[in-house]
Structure formats: structure tokens, C-alpha cells
Subunit: 218 residues, 2 copies
Amino acid sequence: MRHWHGASDKRGYHHGNLKEALVEAARRFIAERGLGGFTLADAAKLVGVSPAALYRHFAGREALVAEVAGRGFDVLAERLARALRGPGTPIERFTRMGEAYLAFAEEEPGFYAAMFAPRGGEAEEPPRGPWGPAPGKDAPEPGGAFNLLVNALMMTFPDGFDGVDPRFVALEVWALSHGIATLSAAGQLPKGPGIPDKHELLRAGVLAIVHGALARKA
Amino acid sequence: MRHWHGASDKRGYHHGNLKEALVEAARRFIAERGLGGFTLADAAKLVGVSPAALYRHFAGREALVAEVAGRGFDVLAERLARALRGPGTPIERFTRMGEAYLAFAEEEPGFYAAMFAPRGGEAEEPPRGPWGPAPGKDAPEPGGAFNLLVNALMMTFPDGFDGVDPRFVALEVWALSHGIATLSAAGQLPKGPGIPDKHELLRAGVLAIVHGALARKA
DNA sequence: TGTACATCAGTGAACGCGCGTTCACTGATGTAC
DNA sequence: TGTACATCAGTGAACGCGCGTTCACTGATGTAC
């Protein structure tokens, strides 16, 4: 009989859900203090466990952060999929997807920081990304967030983009979304009355990109 | 008589150029190891100075990083200005400005990381940014990189953007540039034959944004 | 149903390390007289 | 021109701390018989 209880049930010698609890704690600390300010000791203390217990589930700090990033990509893909599945015209749903992206970056800074942390310097193995496990390869994962975006674009504009590869358009849209989200997170997006907020910025930008791609025939 | 010698002249008890040398060392280490991997001890050792000497010129680690970021904004503004000043039609010069931005982000990852580091979490005083010293206020600095971009847009498209505020267009362009640069730095831009590189991505995106803003009348 | 046992998740103490920062000091520099 | 002095940039040793990781261990769990 499988022993199972929720994440908040910490009674007893065995935690039972430690891996999940540690990922969750790491996400919260990264959100609060940034990726550099996150420590294993804090995560272990929050969960109510000895620091050494972590090593039953992760090879080390880097592995835990990588796990957080992986979960982040899963959650992002799910949220984008949900936004896309809802009611409305294709363009309404597509717009809502953009909102969902910005909302994810804002509400889940822990995930977002782990997912898009700059690579340390020397070339390590390529990180997991929105494109699936092997970035740059021919066919990205079907469930990946990037493919969701490509599919949404094709659904929203069934006539295509006048010969422009939808993946190219999707990449533009993604880069703009990421740029807006990170500038906002860095506190470097001007705010104030009369100044458009990030959602307006994204909506107008995406429209322009799509429009621009459509107008290529000129 | 003013005592002065170059940065590489470390002979003698007094360094003479220590502040500049420390900023330079910090920039290099941040570029190599990331913002989190940069330590004061390393910077001091590289410069050939006791770790305590640093405190004659900076309040601490944070102040040094802030200085690096500030220098970065200056250098960026200067490079953009140079790209804009060169020969060619306005649109050629504007395009070259985009290239210069991506080149800066790629060649100066130390500056770039310091400049756009995500805010730790709790709201501190607003960081210096491309908009000048007081982001969100009415009139950004004349020399700021953002204003350079706005001016370049107005120069390139003297007829305006059909009522759209040039600053709005500039913000879109900046966000896209930043998104492409950071995705590229994170190793999350797909690469390979047949896949457009970041310069092509930026050029097409900027064209689309400008075109989209122009086509607003529709 | 009861007991012995293998498994392995978690303990807790300890480690070596390197960090940012401090402190009283030293000695080179430029200036006042 | 020479000397005494104030200034202050840099020394070097030390600090307390908290980090990631290790190790031999312990005890709860589920299973074999």
C-alpha cells in the first residue's frame, strides 16, 4: 500500500513528498530573493528538513534549480494552452495568450528567473527551453510552449503570413514578450499616467509584427 | 602637479587609477562568471590590490556593481550614437543602430548583466536605466540611450507614425531588442541552417513594428 | 497473523571554504612655511 | 631650496558568517516467509 500524504503533512520521520516540497520552496525563495539569493539551507529549513536530505532527491544546487526551470516551462505551457483553449474568436484567444505570458512572468518570478537565467559563461550543455529538449533541432516537442505559440498563430491566421514561416513570426512574438517581461521585472519599463502599460505594449507590438509579416508582399 | 599614469601601471604604493581598474575588473568577471559569480576578492586580486582598498572608492559590492551598470549605460549610449552618426540613409543608420545594440549585448555581457539585472525582490530605489536617472518621469535625459532611439526614429521617419507617439514605438523596438539579446545570451534562441539569426530577427521585427505603427490608419 | 529483515529517506554534526567587511596601520604624495 | 607636516590611498591580518556538501547513522516503511 502506497504511503501518500499532502505537501503540508510533515509529521513523521519520512516526509513523503520532499522532492515536490523542495522545488516549491526553491521557487518561492528565488521569487523573493532572486536566483543568486536562493540557498539550499533556506529551502531545507522552510520545508522542515535537514539540509542533507536534499541530496536524496537532487545531485546538488544546480540540479534543483534546473528542476525548478523545467517545472516552470511545464507550467508556462499549461497556462498558455489554457488561455488558448478558452472562448472567443481566434484573435481574442491569441491576445489572451499574450496576457497569460506576461501574467506568468509577473506572478511566477521564481519560475521565470530559473527558466531564463543567463548561462554562466563557458558553454555547458544547452539548457531546456521553450522549444523542447533539443533547441535548434528540426522538430520541437509537440507540447512545448513554443509550439503552442506557433499553432496559435496558424490557427489565428489560417491564410498564413504570405510565405513567412510561422515559426519566424512566433519567434518575434516570443522575443518581444520576453523583452517586455524582463524589462518590467528589472523595473526599467517607464510607468505613469499617459504611458502605456506592458499589456498594451505587447498587444500593439504583436499586432504590428503579425501585420508586418502579412504586409510582406508590398 | 597631478599624479597620473595608465591603468596598467601598478607600481608603487598608490595605484593612481584604482577606481577605474576595479570597474574594469568587475566588468570582466561579471562577463566571465555572471553577476552572481563575481566577487570582490577576485577583482582586487586581478588589479593587484588588497581587498580592503576597494572601500576607499566604493561603499561595497552593490555600489561597485551599480557603477558598472552606470558605465554600461554610458557606453551603450555612445555606441548607439556612433552608429547613428555614420554615413548612409536614415533607415540604414537606424538599422545599424539595432546592430550596434545587439553587438553591445553580445560583446559586453558584463555591462549588460549589470545593467539589466532583475531587481532582487523588495522595492529598492529605482535603478538607473536607459531613460535617464528618473525613469517614468516626464522628460528623460537628453543624452540617454532611449532618447537617442526616439530621435533616430523621428529622424528616420520624419512624417511621424500617424499620430502614434514615437516614444511608444521606441519602447517597442527596445523591448524587442532586449528580448532578442537576452534570449540569445541565455542560449535559448534556436540556431541552425535555415533559421534566421538574431540580427535578421531584429531587423524584420523592427521593420514590422514601424510598419505596423504607420499602418494604424487602417 | 506475526516476525525478521532489507530498503532507503531523513538525521545531525561537521567540514573546509571563501565571501564581504572591519580595523589599526603605514607610507607615498603634495603643500605650507 | 629644504624640511615638517597633513592627507589619504592602500596594507594585511582578521572577523564572523553562512554557504554547499559529506558522512556514518537511524528509524519508519513495506515485504518475504
